[in-house]
Symmetry: C2
Subunit: 172 residues, 2 copies
């Protein structure tokens, strides 16, 4: 009994040690680090996919841009998106424009205010195989959000699996 | 008296003829024709200036794009815009997205539906001197609207003369 007790303690301790080491290794390997350390070069020059407005806690107006690989796939209607495709979602505060309202003669105009955050979906079918081939990234004030803060991204995209997990359609 | 009568008839006839010829010449010169006969090549690939939403009779969501000359001027904060700058306003029906709402868990999401029309401001300080250096164009279903249908454009832009008659600011 004593021997079994010591063995159990040993197993638990070992499991604990392995668990700790896994976490330490993951941190050292950057497994919980953001998938993009910096904003992708030139993303603000990418071409437009579409636009949207979110009410609720987002309360933003947004543009969805794509790098050349993403735009080509969208325009050709090719699914799944090829590796290398990156989709960017830029968002700005949703702001009423008094200036525009005066021109229209009534309150009706909403424009982009200060930027809120920028999100990216990066296609790499090998690297991100467990999340539909997409890595998720977000930048607040140009600084990357730790991957741990983005673990919920993929689950939300599962309902649009038939469109390779991408919500936004291309607007002609 | 008869002589005066004939002279008057002659003057009126002459005036009428001149008037008719002016109109004919204007038509031949295309003075009432659209300033752009076709959509500017590659405008859908232009870079993003900003986004907006209009309620009211427009009821659209829109993206404002600029050709290279326009984008450069925006980013450098240069006013007036140089000749050759073109600003495009693409608009789509403002549509509630049930798919997005399900993902967010509440009704809050609005996306771009079918395209409505595309407008352009074309900078040529000589050709369009009488309207702040800007020519105005609109395309419905890819077809240009006659210039006569756009005579009201400039008056609406006068309140933003200080920004070279351009409403939209650049969104970073």
């Amino acid at each position: 009994m004593k021997r079994i007790g010591f063995t159990l303690v040993g197993i638990v301790a070992l499991a604990g040690a392995v668990g700790y080491m896994s976490l330490a290794r993951a941190r050292a390997d950057g497994a919980s680090a953001p998938i993009l350390g910096t904003l992708p070069a030139g993303y603000r020059d990418w071409r437009l996919i579409s636009v949207a407005h979110e009410e609720g806690k987002q309360n933003d107006i947004r543009a969805i841009l794509g790098n050349d690989i993403a735009i080509k796939a969208y325009r050709e209607g090719k699914l799944p998106f090829p590796d290398g495709a990156i989709i960017a979602r830029l968002a700005w505060q949703y702001v009423s424009s008094e200036e525009n309202n005066r021109a229209f003669g009534q309150p009706q105009s909403f424009i982009a205010g200060e930027p809120t955050n920028v999100q990216f979906m990066v296609k790499d079918s090998t690297k991100y195989a467990s999340t539909g081939g997409w890595g998720f990234a977000q930048f607040n004030d140009g600084k990357p959000v730790d991957a741990a803060g983005l673990t919920g991204c993929f689950a939300c995209h599962v309902p649009v699996k038939a469109r390779d997990f991408v919500f936004n359609r291309y607007s002609p």
